[in-house]
């Protein structure tokens, strides 16, 4: 049974190798001529203000969490859409309704967040 995990391990290995390669290839292959200006912190061309480890407003987290809602939706709907045809052939229309039920529950939650002012910044 351990064999069935081989593709996953392969993905893991590939991901690690790829990210390492991307990070280190630039310093490996690129030219390095540092000066004072280059060594300052880059912040969209503006001079940096305050410290980096500042407290972030709780609203950022709220938005982040709302983002997860969409994230989840996509994670679930995408594979479903891909496999829809074959699932439909197997099990009939209930495959469709199941997703509608999911989306309803989901959208009511989304609506709730919207109504309660989850998207307002202040």
């Amino acid at each position: 049974m351990i064999e069935s995990y081989i593709p996953i391990f392969l993905v893991f290995g590939f991901a690690i190798l790829f990210s390492l390669a991307v990070v280190f290839s630039s310093s490996l292959f690129g030219p390095q001529r540092p000066n004072a200006e280059k060594m300052t912190t880059y912040e969209s061309g503006v001079k940096p203000i305050g410290l980096a480890n500042e407290r972030v407003s709780v609203k950022y987290y709220l938005v982040a969490m709302l983002f997860i809602i969409f994230d989840l939706e996509v994670i679930f709907v995408y594979p479903w859409a891909v496999k829809f045809k074959s699932l439909y052939a197997q099990q009939g229309i209930q495959v469709f309704w199941a997703m509608i039920v999911f989306l309803t529950v989901f959208e009511v939650g989304f609506l709730y967040a919207f109504k309660k002012g989850g998207f307002k910044w202040d």
Binding site: M1, Q90, Q91, Q94, T104, V105, V108, G109, L111, Y112, K115
Partner: protein
């Protein structure tokens, strides 16, 4: 799956649909907020009765494990599951009655309370009806997350915040072990379906990974039932949460955790009466009973005292697990029913008396209640008698059936420790009664208006506590028929 199969999932659908409905009402109808508590109450009550009357009508374990069965065989309907559905829904309905005016009193009235409450009930139902490890996990998380939020529901109260955070931190810690255990079980049994796990148990017993998996799974839920040594959260959380939430967590929440333990217990039962788990349950039972009873004596806050008492009660019920026989399981379910209504009554009375500033949380405040509030005092006295296991109330027969199961399986010493612990517990239960009837109050000021719905909740619990004490036979026969 056909449309008519959905009919079987009615209890789940009603509660689930109810959550959405209430969310929508809350969003779109400004005037609709007033009916939300009533609506929640009737949803729960309706589901409770539907479940009760379909206990025997539905085929038990309706769907075999087939690929396209109802919910892919991940849920079972009828029988024991419906008995638990009834308990969860009916208990929560009483908790709604308690909450309604209590929330007004402490000035934290938001409709989200009822949404979270319904959502936790849905989670419990998913646990009790589940036939699949993942389903158990989803149910548990749905219940727990709702509870975390509910525990911190009094946002401006520092104790409530503390309770929520502690519950959340330790709860996630325990859930981690639970998942770890599930992973081991899945890894060894190669299936998430309980039915497959059970059928392979006799082979897997020799596999240490499987045993560790079961152990971790059980530990995850032992945390939820607040048994020693995984009980540390209970006193702080029970004390800090709003009383109406404590009433819910301490009763149906615990029942839900027990229902999960009973699910996997089929596997443990297959290992025979002398397995390592049986001894482990014995140790947990003894520690919980004695620890809970002894520590409760020193408490000055009544909710904290009841928290320790609930640790002790978890210990009594664990005796039923240690006995590893059908009568032990029947005893646990009976005990859960009795315990649920006893504690709902107790917390209901506290919620009725408690003021926004926290009066009537200290046991001292109950001095002289016998003359100031004769009915509530008498009810509380009856509930204290019932909790300490004095006949003819439900608590007595709960203990009786559990101890009987222990004796039948040869663990007489466990029953003896149980009796000893009951004797100790009489001390702190009756202290409340003594305060109410034999001490004079220093403060004769009138108690705030007593809520009518809360009173109804207390009366309902009281009637059940007495009824199950007078006629335990019918209930235990119903339970025994389902096991």
């Amino acid at each position: 799956m056909e449309m008519k199969d959905l009919f079987y999932a009615m209890p789940l659908l009603i509660v689930g649909g109810g959550i959405l409905l209430i969310l929508l009402i809350d969003m779109f109808f400004k005037g609709g907020k007033k009916i939300i508590p009533a609506l929640t109450f009737f949803i729960l009550l309706g589901t409770a009765y539907y479940s009760l009357f379909t206990i025997n009508q539905l085929p038990i374990g309706l769907m075999p494990v087939s690929e396209f069965g109802l919910f892919y065989g991940m849920l079972s309907f009828g029988g024991k599951a419906h008995l638990f559905y009834f308990l969860f829904n009916f208990g929560s309905a009483i908790a709604v009655l308690i909450a309604n005016d209590y929330l007004k009193k402490i000035e934290t009235e938001y409709s989200e309370y009822y949404i979270l409450l319904l959502s936790s009930v849905l989670g419990m139902m998913l646990i009790a009806g589940s036939r699949n490890l993942v389903m158990i996990f989803i149910g548990l998380e749905q219940m727990s997350i709702s509870f975390y939020a509910l525990a911190g529901y009094r946002r401006k109260n520092i104790l409530s915040n503390e309770a929520a955070l502690k519950y959340f931190l330790l709860g996630s810690f325990a859930t981690g072990f639970l998942i770890y255990g599930m992973a081991f079980i899945f890894g060894t049994a190669q299936s998430m379906m309980l039915i497959d796990i059970f059928s392979q148990t006799s082979v897997l017993v020799k596999n240490p990974l499987f045993m560790i998996g079961i152990l971790l799974f059980l530990i995850g839920f032992t945390f939820k039932i607040a048994a020693v040594p995984f009980h540390m959260w209970a006193p702080d959380v029970y004390e800090g949460s709003p009383t109406s939430v404590t009433a819910l967590m301490a009763t149906v929440g615990k029942a839900a955790a027990f229902s999960a333990i009973l699910l996997i217990f089929v596997s443990v039962a297959k290992m025979g009466p002398n397995s390592v788990f049986s001894s482990m349950f014995s140790v947990v039972a003894v520690l919980s009973m004695l620890y809970g009873s002894i520590a409760a004596i020193a408490q000055k806050d009544i909710k904290r005292m009841l928290a320790y008492s609930s640790i002790a009660h978890a210990g009594y019920m664990t005796i039923g697990l240690a006995a590893v026989n059908p009568s032990g399981i029947a005893g646990i379910i009976f005990y859960l029913v009795a315990y649920t209504f006893m504690n709902l009554g107790a917390f209901g009375i506290i919620a009725l008396l408690e003021s926004k500033e926290g009066k009537f949380l200290s046991i001292e405040d109950y001095k002289g209640l016998g003359t100031r509030q004769p009915f509530l005092a008498a009810s509380l006295a009856i509930i204290m008698f019932a909790l300490s296991g004095i006949p003819p109330f439900a608590g007595f027969f709960g203990k009786y059936y559990i101890f009987l199961a222990a004796i039948q399986s040869g663990d007489t010493w466990l029953a003896l420790v149980g009796v000893l612990s009951s004797v100790i517990s009489v001390y702190f239960y009756l202290r409340v009664v003594v305060y109410m009837y034999f001490s004079k109050s220093d403060d004769e000021s009138a108690i705030l208006e007593i809520s009518q719905t809360g009173l109804l909740a207390v009366i309902a619990s009281l009637v059940l506590v007495i009824a199950f004490g007078l006629a335990p036979g019918s209930l235990i026969r119903l339970i025994s028929g389902l096991i």
